[in-house]
């Protein structure tokens, strides 16, 4: 008997494509009906969307072969029967979408910063990267390099932040907001759970106040009120003021997310750490936070994606991020009426970034779970 059991294999879960279709799509008649309906909808929709976005679309030239320089030359405006999307607007305004009004002579600095950002993210994303330690050193000094590269100083010509725009602003706000909010959020979460009443009360007040106020209000607050708190004569850059508001907002949310993770750690972990003679900070840094953050990865990524999209609100205070440039283009008489194309493009860029973040968090969850049973009993 034992020998037979040893060689017996588990039953095959599915029997090829037909079996899979049977089980998943045509299990019974309602299931089949829904499948057919969905197939019909896709059949109607997919050719249309492909035709509009690609096959009938103008990219640089219209159907007469002329280079498009304004909306009147788009195929769909020349001949409504014969044209799809007019992507020429993106082509013509591409520079603004990516760099805003950054001077063309200096634009290599932005490109270099984009490339360096990719290198700075690498060691954070892949723990198994060879020479990860040295890459990490680079990651730590990257913000400083990026500041001088983008803003100027140290021999670079200064480029005022009101010339920045488009994807550049979106990425600066998103990355800085997320990167700064993470450590601040951790401190706030620990503070709120602290046994010292003054610290706990201050952190709770801060979190509840920031969370209870809409981001737009905080942005106005940053624009209008922050300068009042500064000594006279010191002028705070507009983008920095917005960054402060965005970071405060994000850190309050991050704090609550991490606090949730902290609450999931069984008290035995604290006791074991204490009984080994660890101090409060060692216990939290080595034992509690690594576990709490691991549990909180999905909501951390969730709020980060939220913030990345919320950066579009800076348009309210006159900063032109990706969406802002899009709306600016729409207001241009040359490109009136091309809202489909512009919003489609802006959505696509946001989607690429947020989808990347979401996929990465799934990968991270899977990687960190292997071989580790979080319930230690």
């Amino acid at each position: 008997m034992n020998e037979m059991n040893a060689v017996r294999k588990p039953p095959v879960a599915t029997t090829g494509i037909i079996g899979w279709l049977r089980i998943n799509l045509f299990f019974n008649w309602t299931n089949s009906l829904i499948t057919l309906f969905v197939v019909y909808c896709l059949y109607q929709f997919i050719p249309w969307i492909l035709d509009w976005t690609i096959f009938s679309a103008d990219f640089k030239y219209n159907y007469l072969g002329e280079q498009i320089t304004n909306q009147e030359m788009c195929s769909r405006n020349l001949d409504p029967e014969n044209g799809g999307a007019c992507w020429a607007v993106i082509y013509v305004r591409f520079y603004q979408f990516i760099y805003g009004f950054y001077p063309k002579v200096e634009v290599w600095r932005v490109n270099l910063a984009y490339i360096m950002l990719a290198f700075a993210l690498l060691p954070l994303l892949y723990a198994k990267l060879p020479y990860r330690k040295y890459f990490l050193y680079f990651t730590y000094i990257f913000p400083v390099i990026a500041y001088f590269l983008l803003n100027g100083g140290l021999g670079f010509t200064e480029v005022s932040t009101n010339k920045w725009g488009g994807l550049l602003v979106t990425l600066v706000l998103g990355c800085t907001g997320i990167a700064l909010a993470f450590p601040i959020g951790i401190m706030l979460a620990l503070g709120r759970r602290s046994k010292l009443p003054v610290i706990s009360m201050m952190c709770t007040l801060f979190i509840e106040f920031i969370r209870g106020v809409p981001l737009i209000t905080l942005l106005f607050f940053g624009m209008v009120m922050l300068p009042l708190f500064l000594p006279e004569g010191i002028d705070m850059d507009g983008l920095v003021r917005v960054l402060v508001a965005v970071t405060l907002f994000q850190s309050a949310y991050m704090a609550e997310v991490i606090r949730g993770g902290l609450q999931a750690i069984p008290p035995g972990q604290y006791e074991a750490a204490k009984s080994l003679g660890m101090s409060y900070w060692r216990m939290n840094l080595l034992i509690i936070l690594p576990q709490a953050i691991r549990i909180s990865i999905p909501p951390i990524v969730n709020t980060s994606i939220g913030l990345f999209k919320d950066t579009t609100l800076v348009i309210i205070v006159g900063i032109l991020d990706l969406l802002g440039i899009g709306r600016g283009t729409l207001a241009d008489t040359n490109w009136l009426g091309l809202s489909y194309e512009i919003y489609f493009f802006v959505s696509l860029v946001f989607f690429i970034f947020t989808f990347g973040m979401s996929r990465y968090s799934l990968y991270l969850e899977k990687k960190l779970k292997t071989g580790i049973n979080m319930g230690a009993d």
Partner: protein
């Protein structure tokens, strides 16, 4: 008397809210002495040993461990915790670290031991608890008995003078209890000062120098194992023993 004592509890009182969990507890433990504490659940035995390394705070009386009095002074608490190792019912291994990292963590970060030395120490401790082959696994991959032995190794790596055991076998399947008790017997034979809260009476008979029986927050009886099991004084002890030995 108290000069020889390594642990001394005098008139210790503690309340959880209105519940008087420790009532005038007095206990003297000499160096290398092995004490087994038993009693029904809720009798305060866990709370008492958790007071000895300040996982719980006592409200009245005094606790002196190795000449250091436990007060609000954080420095004293840290020093006591370096002297006292503790093993928990639920093991409380760190699930995000491998077995070896679990053991080396405190020596490296608390004692500032170089990493290579700490790893060597960890392997020696794992030899003592007889599972050196599990060094690179994670706690979640081990059986309960193996986890508890890692927990003992983790405590021993800090080279404590005193070991506290809080029902170390209560969360284990019956066939794993022996492997943990064997390690504890070895430890006792090696001359470690131990206070063990347990219901394993076989272990108590072989190892204990003294039995302590607690009920309703008080120490009801203190006696040698021989007297405790064969000729207990109080009726409460007799009732408890008859219940526990009948199982």
């Amino acid at each position: 008397m108290s000069e020889e004592s390594i642990i001394s509890l005098k008139n210790v009182n503690k309340w959880f809210g209105d519940f008087h969990v420790l009532q005038d507890v007095n206990l003297e433990v000499k160096k290398k002495e092995r004490i087994v504490v038993c009693g029904p659940s809720g009798s305060g035995k866990s709370t008492m040993i958790r007071c000895i390394n300040r996982l719980e705070e006592h409200q009245e009386g005094s606790i002196v461990v190795d000449g250091i009095e436990l007060t609000g002074n954080l420095k004293n608490i840290d020093n006591v915790r370096k002297e006292v190792g503790m093993v928990f019912q639920q093991f409380n291994l760190f699930p995000h670290l491998s077995v070896k990292e679990n053991i080396t963590l405190a020596p490296i970060w608390v004692k500032k031991m170089p990493k290579a030395e700490a790893e060597e120490l960890a392997m020696r401790q794992l030899e003592i608890v007889k599972i050196p082959e599990q060094a690179n696994k994670y706690p979640g991959q081990l059986s309960g008995g193996q986890q508890q032995r890692v927990a003992i190794a983790r405590s021993l790596a800090m080279n404590p003078n005193i070991m506290l055991f809080d029902e170390p076998t209560s969360a284990l399947d019956p066939e794993m209890i022996k492997e943990v008790l064997d390690v504890m017997v070895d430890l006792a034979n090696g001359g470690m000062t131990m206070i063990v809260v347990t219901h394993e009476m076989g272990f108590a008979k072989t190892v204990a120098d003294r039995m302590v029986f607690m009920d309703e927050g008080k120490i009801v009886e203190e006696a040698s194992p021989d007297k405790f099991f064969n000729n207990p004084e109080s009726d409460r002890t007799k009732l408890f023993l008859s219940q526990i030995l009948h199982q």
